[in-house]
């Protein structure tokens, strides 16, 4: 089933993950991902029809905060590590034309 990974798949996943891979990296990624998925396909052998997917191991539920303001002005901390800053805001490349 390794053939599901095509050049287009790698291209597409690169867009989703925001990774620009070099040609060599793409070749390697195609190989690695194909092998890994073949290995993961082992799981298909298990009958899971009656099984509920488990996203949390424990049945902890209803963890809430009360609607009370606990934070003050933390903008100085917030912006401390910003690679680009202006007027107390994060500076980013233009988002629209």
């Amino acid at each position: 089933m390794a053939n599901i990974i095509t050049d287009e798949t790698i291209e597409y996943v690169g867009i989703l993950a925001k990774l620009a891979l070099s040609e060599d990296e793409k070749k390697q990624a195609k190989k690695d991902m194909g092998r890994m998925l073949d290995y993961i396909d082992k799981l298909a052998a298990l009958d899971t029809t009656e099984i509920e997917p488990m996203s949390h191991v424990f049945s902890v539920q209803n963890v809430f905060r009360e609607d009370v303001v606990t934070n003050g002005d933390e903008s100085e901390k917030t912006l401390k590590n910003a690679p680009g800053e202006k007027d107390n805001m994060f500076m980013v490349p233009k988002t629209f034309d």
Binding site: Y12, V13, I40, N81
Partner: protein
């Protein structure tokens, strides 16, 4: 007495008794760091000035009787994926090379409250993805037992620092074995607590449903004391569990009479090194001789744990690591054309190969058309694996097995074949999938002179059983070693 020969708890007792000061302990640690660090490379960041400053203040507090805990005055190393306010936290990645957190992880704060004094931040596999500490952007860490070998990973820096005496104990994180496996490779004790026992607030997430913070220590008593200090119910972590039984040091009892221990036959098949196998079986016999009821059984589904784990962990990681985008903190590519190019260049230059590999895999298994076949399927198998453990723990108090199939491999041997490296996680990762506690402790040394680890696994919230059995074994083992 050589200060470095003390365990953490012994050191604190000696400081409180006035035999040694926290500053002297710190001096001893730094003397060892100066001697070893150039070859071992256990740390990414060391803050010598801050360490001595804090040690001095801590000594004063101890003298005034303000600090009385079991870890007061003890120098500690922190894995570099735990946020430390004002101290660079890199996750051993280029993308966070200049990131200075504005808050400290809850576990770190708990240690500060207990009076432990931070030395610095330890090296790791980048974003905790790896089993050798070779994927770090800040150089490999070497195994203090034999510097041609890896220390294991991803908490390799923490394990190596403890083994080399470059700290008295360390914190690590364990998503698929990242505390237990390096502890095993470096001959120290490492414990992965029940999911939810230690707050994840301030731990830079890899696989959020699997990550737990835990201790790496010189012995089981230290391990219990550290776990007691860091375990807490934290309202900032929704998955944090409220436990009343966190007095783990009360379980340091030399007795396993009547304890039922199961050995999964499936753990001793193909791929397991014979020396490891022999050492682990010998450990089982030691516990049986102490009165434990030891028998073999079929755990089932063991071979499915790795594909399940890598699907879930990669999926969560692909999402958790989206925030590293060059906007709010960390590395930003020097030149780019527009927003999307900035994202791509920043992330491609900032992440290493293994991290990119897992992000790609994770993005794929969540993508449209594959979610059910891969991600949802993995969540279902996870439920089955949990059930298999539930059934095992209906019969046994503990499960005993190896930590890893082999002892520490040589540097450079593992990365060329990722899948083969992943297979090395076979004995540790199902514990994370099921949210269970597991401990790794030394049980022998192979003919290459490298440590062998023994793993004990307990049912959820049964750390005390784990600690009691590990302590009992350690009493006999350390006598034999002398």
């Amino acid at each position: 007495m050589d200060i470095l020969a003390y365990s953490a708890v012994e050191l604190s007792a000696a400081i409180k008794a006035g035999k040694v000061t926290a500053v002297e302990a710190m001096e001893a640690v730094f003397a060892r760091i100066d001697e070893k660090e150039s070859t071992v490379n256990a740390y990414v960041t060391i803050d010598r000035e801050q360490a001595f400053k804090t040690a001095t203040i801590t000594q004063e507090k101890i003298e005034k009787g303000e600090l009385t805990g079991m870890l007061a005055g003890v120098p500690v190393a922190i894995k570099d994926n735990l946020c430390t306010e004002g101290i660079r936290t890199t996750c051993s990645s280029k993308i966070l090379e200049n990131f200075v957190p504005t808050f400290s992880a809850e576990a770190v704060l708990n240690l500060e409250k207990a009076g432990a004094v931070m030395i610095g931040k330890t090296n790791m596999d980048e974003f905790a993805m790896g089993s050798t500490t070779e994927t770090s952007a800040y150089g490999v860490t070497r195994n203090p037992w034999n510097t041609d070998h890896v220390p294991g990973g991803s908490s390799g820096g923490s394990a190596a620092a403890v083994a080399a005496g470059e700290c008295f104990f360390a914190l690590g994180s364990d998503t698929g074995g990242s505390i237990r496996q390096p502890a095993s490779f470096c001959g120290v004790v490492g414990l992965k607590p029940t999911y939810g026992t230690v707050s994840r607030y301030g731990l830079v997430a890899y696989g959020s449903s699997l990550d737990q913070i835990g201790p790496l220590t010189k012995n089981v008593a230290d391990c219990a004391a550290v776990l007691e200090a860091i375990a807490s119910h934290d309202t900032k972590d929704s998955t944090s569990v409220e436990r009343k039984d966190t007095d783990f040091t009360t379980a340091l009892i030399d007795d396993v009479k009547g304890m039922k221990i199961g050995i999964p036959r499936d753990y001793f098949g193909e791929g397991l090194d014979s020396e490891v196998k022999d050492a682990v079986f010998a450990a089982a016999k030691t516990l049986a001789a102490k009165g434990a009821v030891v028998e073999e059984f079929d755990l089932s589904l063991v071979e499915y744990a790795i594909p399940t784990y890598y699907t879930i962990a990669a999926a969560e990681a692909s999402s958790n690591l989206e925030r590293f985008d060059g906007i709010k903190y960390g590395y930003r590519a020097a030149s780019y054309k527009g927003l999307h190019d900035m994202y791509k260049k920043t992330r491609s230059e900032g992440f290493g190969a293994e991290v990119k590999r897992r992000i790609m895999l994770g993005s794929f298994v969540l993508s449209s058309g594959y979610y059910d076949a891969y991600y949802l399927k993995a969540l279902k198998v996870k439920a089955m694996i949990k059930k298999a453990f539930d059934e095992a723990f209906a019969k046994y108090d503990l499960i005993l097995g190896p930590v890893a199939p082999t002892t520490a491999p040589k540097i450079g041997e593992s990365l060329s074949d990722p899948l083969k490296m992943y297979l090395g996680d076979i004995y540790t990762i199902s514990v994370n999938l099921a949210g269970l506690p597991g401990i790794s402790l030394p049980c022998g040394i192979d003919t290459k002179g490298l440590p062998i680890g023994l793993q004990l696994i307990a049912d959820s919230f049964q750390e005390k059983r784990l600690i009691q059995a590990a302590y009992t074994y350690e009493q006999t083992y350390s006598k034999e070693m002398r």
